[in-house]
């Protein structure tokens, strides 16, 4: 087997991670046009919850994942109630500044509590192994990661497409004012979506530790990737985020493998070209 399949596999696993990290932001941005740059701070919260529970309390890895989801969601609800809700009608710039302020504080807080070094986690041995599939050496952890991400994607699609809540979300993303006019409580809807999206980011942050590591700069470094996924995929589009995350994940891993000298150059260039071609993203409607 040529290495191209291995690169593809790693790229897909990385793309799944990016999807978990960014899907919440895509939906909330599409609904309220609220530019939440602190989204990756919630992911970082999830990561640190997992690290703390595993290292200080001896929880098994899989038990910490729901905790990462819940704590990240809870933190986001508090911030939303205290800060964000006052800024829904402010300009893009003010929203950017408020949330980047929160990012800075979260970075300093993480550095203060945990130090600036990369956080180690000891995964169970069976996750460290790799198995051979058709001559290809696949890491078990990445398979698990892909499975979890796919399950969540399926759950999201079912929720959005088939439930009453999902219909309301779609209506609010499509036209917020019209949805209000029809009696949908968009503010409450947004609060729930925001919490769920941040929770998913927290879960993504916890799953990311093994793949990309966790240190205080996480909130800023991966913010750029998440923003690329969201803007290229199109606001409010789950499928768009999924496609963009896959493309970005594979392109990034392949780029680092085949043309390491270019670094992230290619990805930024591709993003600029796509946005010039379609300013609302590949699958965005507005």
């Amino acid at each position: 087997m040529p290495p191209v399949f291995g690169v593809l596999f790693d790229g897909i696993a990385y793309g799944m991670l990016l999807f978990l990290l960014s899907v919440g932001l895509s939906v909330t941005l599409g609904m309220m046009n609220f530019v939440n740059l602190a989204h990756c701070s919630f992911a970082m919260v999830g990561g640190y919850v997992t690290v703390t529970l595993m290292n200080a309390f001896g929880w098994p890895f899989f038990a910490t994942l729901p905790a990462a989801f819940i704590v990240a969601a809870a933190v986001s609800v508090v911030l939303e109630r205290v800060f964000f809700r006052r800024f829904y009608r402010s300009s893009d710039l003010e929203q950017c500044l408020l949330t980047i302020g929160i990012v800075f504080i979260s970075i300093a807080a993480a550095a203060y509590i945990y130090g600036t070094t990369n956080q180690p986690v000891q995964l169970p041995a069976y996750l460290h192994r790799s198995i051979d599939v058709a001559g290809l050496n696949l890491a078990v952890y990445r398979i698990v990661l892909i499975a979890i991400a796919l399950a969540i994607t399926a759950l999201l699609v079912v929720t959005i497409e088939m439930t009453r809540f999902g219909a309301q979300v779609r209506a609010a993303v499509n036209n917020q004012r019209m949805a209000r006019g029809l009696g949908i409580n968009v503010d409450a809807l947004f609060a729930i979506t925001f919490a769920l999206g941040s929770g998913l980011a927290g879960l993504g942050g916890a799953l990311a530790i093994e793949i990309i590591g966790l240190d205080p700069s996480f909130a800023l470094t991966y913010l750029i990737y998440v923003l690329i996924v969201v803007s290229v995929g199109g606001l409010g589009s789950i499928f768009g985020s999924f496609a963009a995350a896959m493309v970005l994940g594979v392109a990034d891993v392949a780029g680092k493998y085949y043309v390491p000298a270019f670094g992230a150059f290619l990805i930024y260039l591709v993003m600029i070209v796509i946005l010039m071609w379609r300013p609302t993203g590949l699958f965005g409607r507005r």
Partner: protein, 332 residues
């Protein structure tokens, strides 16, 4: 600037002339910039950095404050100016004034080229594209290590004496005088520009870009012009930094610098010319003071400051002061 004052003066020429007149507080401000020579001679190096940063913030104010173009990649032009001036000096021509001109041309050219892209977009796409331009340039400078020195920075810059005789001293006398003079000259140009019909058209675009074509102003052409001008000014600021510190690092065109300059502008107040200058001074002095205590937690205070400014002082320090002055007037 509000509609009330415009309505109060029916003749637009008179309105612009009134805006162009110098207020006593402006003269006081520029006299105060000379104070560091007398009061804090040991801080002249810091003062020169503040003057350079203030020039950079001024360039962002022209596009963000007056024309409503949010940019997260403005350091790209600063970095191009810095590397141009640095490279010219490294390869044998260290004359500072021509270095400034060369940097201005290089940054202006890149600004003109990118302005075609920038003028077409608004909102999130604009933020992402400016961010992307900045990141692409940073990656390019990092990869082109043979030219830029890569991660280690550009070494071996030597700036010749100003006008062939005034040397750049260790205490920053020359550096501050030089930076302050350039800042003042460009400020005069920017001030004239803002209080011209062109400046008024820019503010119109900021308030409502869709209606401006209806009164005969081309939005794209105006945005391209001001974006190029802002790029030139940013390039000059970068060149000043390269010449006075005699080194250029990748940090000159990094995302961090783009974010910092945005913070300074917001802190001071957008769309007010002096807002950026005051923001730069407050930010730089605060960073100098705080980083002495605990450098790694500096961003905690910046974050707190940002949230406080956005929540309590939406128009920045200068906006708050204006409000205060108006209230005092009403009371008295």
């Amino acid at each position: 600037m509000t509609s009330a004052t415009i309505a109060g003066q029916a003749n637009p020429v008179q309105y612009l002339q009134a805006q162009n007149r110098w207020h006593w507080s402006e003269i006081a401000f520029w006299l105060a910039t000379l104070l560091p020579f007398v009061l804090a001679p040991s801080y002249l190096v810091l003062a020169s950095q503040i003057a350079i940063t203030a020039l950079f913030v001024l360039s962002l104010d022209l596009i963000l404050g007056f024309s409503g173009i949010v940019s997260l990649g403005h350091a790209a032009y600063f970095g191009i100016g810095a590397y141009t001036a640095g490279l010219i000096s490294k390869y044998g021509w260290g004359e500072p004034l021509t270095g400034l001109v060369a940097a201005a041309i290089a940054a202006g050219l890149f600004g003109y080229v990118t302005s075609f892209i920038v003028a077409r977009f608004r909102h999130l796409a604009l933020i992402m594209i400016t961010l992307g331009i900045g990141l692409v340039l940073q990656e390019a400078a990092n990869s082109a290590g043979w030219l830029t020195g890569g991660f280690d920075g550009l070494q071996g810059i030597h700036t010749w004496p100003l006008f062939g005789r005034i040397r750049f001293d260790l205490y920053g006398y020359t550096a501050y005088s030089y930076a302050l003079a350039v800042l003042f000259l460009i400020f005069l140009i920017a001030r004239r520009l803002i209080h011209s019909p062109f400046g008024l058209a820019l503010r119109g675009i900021r308030e409502n870009g869709l209606r401006m074509p209806a009164i005969g102003a081309s939005v794209h052409a105006h945005i391209q012009t001001i974006y190029t001008i802002a790029a030139i000014i940013a390039g000059i600021a970068g060149a000043l930094l390269a010449q006075t510190t005699e080194t250029v690092s990748l940090e000159a065109l990094g995302f961090q610098r783009s974010a910092d300059v945005l913070v300074m502008l917001i802190l001071g107040g957008t769309g007010r010319l002096y807002g950026g200058l005051i923001g730069a001074a407050v930010y730089m002095v605060a960073r100098d003071q705080f980083s002495g205590i605990n450098p790694q937690y500096w961003y905690f205070w910046i974050g707190l400051l940002l949230i406080a400014v956005v929540m309590l002082l939406p128009n920045g320090i200068l906006g708050g002061l204006t409000l205060l002055a108006r209230r005092m007037k009403v009371v008295s």
